[in-house]
Amino acid sequence: MSDSNQTHFGFKTVNESEKANKVGEVFHSVARKYDLMNDVMSAGLHRIWKRFAIEVSGVKAGDKVLDVAGGSGDLSRLFNKKVGPTGQVILTDINASMLAVGRDRLIDEGAAVPALQCDAEKLPFPDNYFDCVIVAFGLRNMTHKDKALAEMRRVLKTGGRLLVLEFSKVWKPLTPIYDAYSFKLLPIMGKLFAKDADSYQYLAESIRMHPDQETLRQMMLDAGLNKVDYYNLAAGVVALHKGWKV
């Protein structure tokens, strides 16, 4: 971005102050059918990717975990089982509609997980508090990714891990098929299942504008994490980055 007050909203360029509201509108619109659409779009693979993130997190009983942009709460639910009664999981999201879906679902399942509406760029937690911070399919919607990464690092204890699960750059030979799927099929599916083609058009565009594996790795290192490694999942459709605060 040449103008420091502007940022991406999908393929469009908007003022930074507008992005959060526009992203908010998208997620407000898709909140109720978010998981259904994820299942349809990824053929259920998003559940495997999320479980993999939990396996790789190294979280154990008694740990403190922060689920940033956790929305529908599926990761918080799984982490809550892993940390047990001696641990703590906190679910956060900037979007009230998404957070309400996750909060209600967790309460219905009897999971006592605090749900907080907050901005990932200004986390309301003390320094060195969590053993693990995770953001799954949320970072690309943040206006200042660098600030959000630095904040997530701040709240990590020494030895803690930051996990970023996000769409990434697909293996080059598969790019034409992936593009056709994202820009032709995805909005149609959005229209059919969520009655909202525009929001799913934004999802496809925001995925393309998100940094690739190596760029995100460097951003995490720049945010102050001492070591960062990543996994390509489904030929790079999704990447899981794991960074350590040493």
């Binding site: 993999f52 396996e55 190294g58 979280v59 154990k60 891990r161 960062v228 490694d229 996994y231």
Partner: protein, 190 residues
Amino acid sequence: MFQPLLTRLLNHLVTQNQWARSHLLPFSGKTVSFYLPPAQASLTILEDGGLAVAGETSHADASIHLSASLVLRLLAKDSDAMSQVRIEGDTELAKTLAKVLQNIKWDYEEDLSKVLGDISANKASTFAKDTVKEAKQQVVNFAEMAAEYWQEENPLIAKKRHVEDFVQQVDVLRDDVERLEKRLAKIRVK
């Protein structure tokens, strides 16, 4: 695609073998690479003592180099084979992980019992164990029979005794040649 499944399997095995977790925990965050040409795989020890497939940019703290024949000997529990494995880097880490992987056991009866119930799982597991034992015995019998045929009836394989005799004769010949070379050298000096 296989990373999530393999990592899940590894962690499931570690959960079933809790002793392994305590061995691995002191090495959390470290990575070991296994080389079995042309294949290569790396495993990372997690912060909870579990195991995961290593990521794309992981740096190996130790590497274990194997050959196909060595793997077969390790699988056959040949006690001398372990001493021939080449280890580079953090040898303590590599030895611990190798020991864990060698001794970890899959309690498949426990897993089956969740699907089939205890009694059926026990019967299925006993049947599987008996089948594998019988198959192993049949393979050993066949191999012994084939070896005997190729040693006695249609000699293709040398007998151990003959190989040892041959090796001894080669040693004698080598010593004789060395002595002869020294004598020739002395004559040349004179």
